[in-house]
C-alpha cells in the first residue's frame, strides 16, 4: 500500500474517494472479453469476498492486473486471464477492486445482468482444454489478435 509506484497511479485513491473508477485496459490477457486499449472497464472497490469468476484487479509486480478468479488454493486466490490457460496464485490482500461491468462500443455491459456474459463465462471457464481449442481457433482467424504495434527509436 505504501509502495510509491502504486500511489503514483492513483487508482486506489480514486477508488477510496469514488467507489467506482473507469479505466481503459492495456494488454491482451483478458481477450476476447476485454480488447486491448479499446474497451473500458468499471472497477469497483471490493467490499465482500469476491465470488468465483469475478474479474479482480490486483497489484502485480509493477502494474495493476485484471484477471478472473478461478479458484482457491489454501488462503490464496487463483486467477487466470481469459486469454491464458495457466492460473496464477495471488494474495487476497493484493486485490483492490472487482469489475462489475464494462463499456463496449456504445453500451454499458452489466456483468450481473447480462445473460450473454453469463453464457460466455460458463463456456469460457468450463474447461481449460476447450479454452485452449477456442483460443487456437481465435488466434488463427482474428485480426485483433495481432501483436501490439509499437515503434520505438532510440
Amino acid at each position: 500500500m505504501s509502495d510509491p509506484y502504486f500511489e503514483a497511479r492513483g487508482l486506489e485513491e480514486a477508488l477510496r474517494k469514488n467507489g467506482v473508477v473507469i479505466i481503459t485496459c492495456r494488454g491482451v490477457s483478458m481477450m476476447p472479453l476485454i480488447k486491448n486499449s479499446r474497451d473500458r472497464v468499471c472497477a469497483a472497490r471490493i467490499k465482500d469476498k469476491p465470488a468465483k469468476h469475478d474479474i479482480l484487479i490486483y497489484r502485480g509486480e509493477d502494474e495493476y492486473i485484471a484477471h478472473r478468479l478461478v479458484g482457491m488454493q489454501g488462503d490464496k486466490y487463483l486467477t487466470c486471464g481469459d486469454n491464458q490457460i495457466r492460473p496464477a496464485e495471488i494474495s487476497p490482500e493484493d486485490v483492490v477492486a472487482y469489475l462489475p461491468g464494462m463499456v463496449r462500443k456504445d453500451r454499458y455491459l452489466d456483468f450481473s445482468k447480462s445473460s450473454a456474459y453469463r453464457l460466455y463465462v460458463s463456456v469460457w471457464c468450463s474447461s481449460m482444454f476447450l479454452r485452449r481449442c477456442m483460443l487456437y481457433i481465435i488466434h488463427h482467424f482474428s485480426a485483433s489478435y495481432k501483436k501490439e504495434y509499437r515503434l520505438q527509436i532510440g
Binding site: 469514488n18 467507489g19 467506482v20 473508477v21 473507469i22 481503459t24 473500458r40 468499471c42 469497483a44 472497490r45 462489475p100 461491468g101 463499456v103 462500443k105 456504445d106 453500451r107 454499458y108 452489466d110
Partner: protein, 89 residues
C-alpha cells in the same frame, strides 16, 4: 438543454455513474459520480429541460429554497457543459 446522445447514466456497485459511450468516449474517457439529486436532474436533462423547468421540478420534489436550487442547478449544468455533455436543443 439536453444530454448528448452518447452519454449514459448507470448504477454501478451502488454508485450513480455518468459516462460516455461510443465515439464520445474519446473526448470523455472518465466518469462523473452523481448523488440522488444529480440523478434527478440528469433524468430531466436526458429528455431535455430549461433552467426554469429544472428549478421547478426540483422544488416540487425536494425541500429546499428557490435560491439554493438555482445555485446548485447552475453549478451542475456548468459542470456538464464544461465536459461537453450538454447540447442546446
Amino acid at each position: 438543454m439536453k444530454i448528448k446522445e452518447n452519454f449514459i447514466m448507470k448504477t454501478i456497485a451502488g454508485e450513480n455513474i455518468a459516462m460516455a459511450v461510443g465515439k464520445e468516449a474519446r473526448n470523455f474517457p472518465g466518469m462523473i459520480r452523481l448523488n440522488e439529486t444529480g440523478c434527478f436532474l440528469w433524468n430531466l436533462l436526458e429528455k431535455g429541460a430549461t433552467m426554469e423547468t429544472l428549478t421547478e421540478k426540483l422544488l416540487e420534489e425536494y425541500d429546499t429554497t428557490k435560491e439554493n436550487a438555482e445555485k446548485d442547478i447552475s453549478a451542475f449544468v456548468e459542470t456538464l457543459k464544461a465536459n461537453g455533455i450538454l447540447e442546446d436543443e
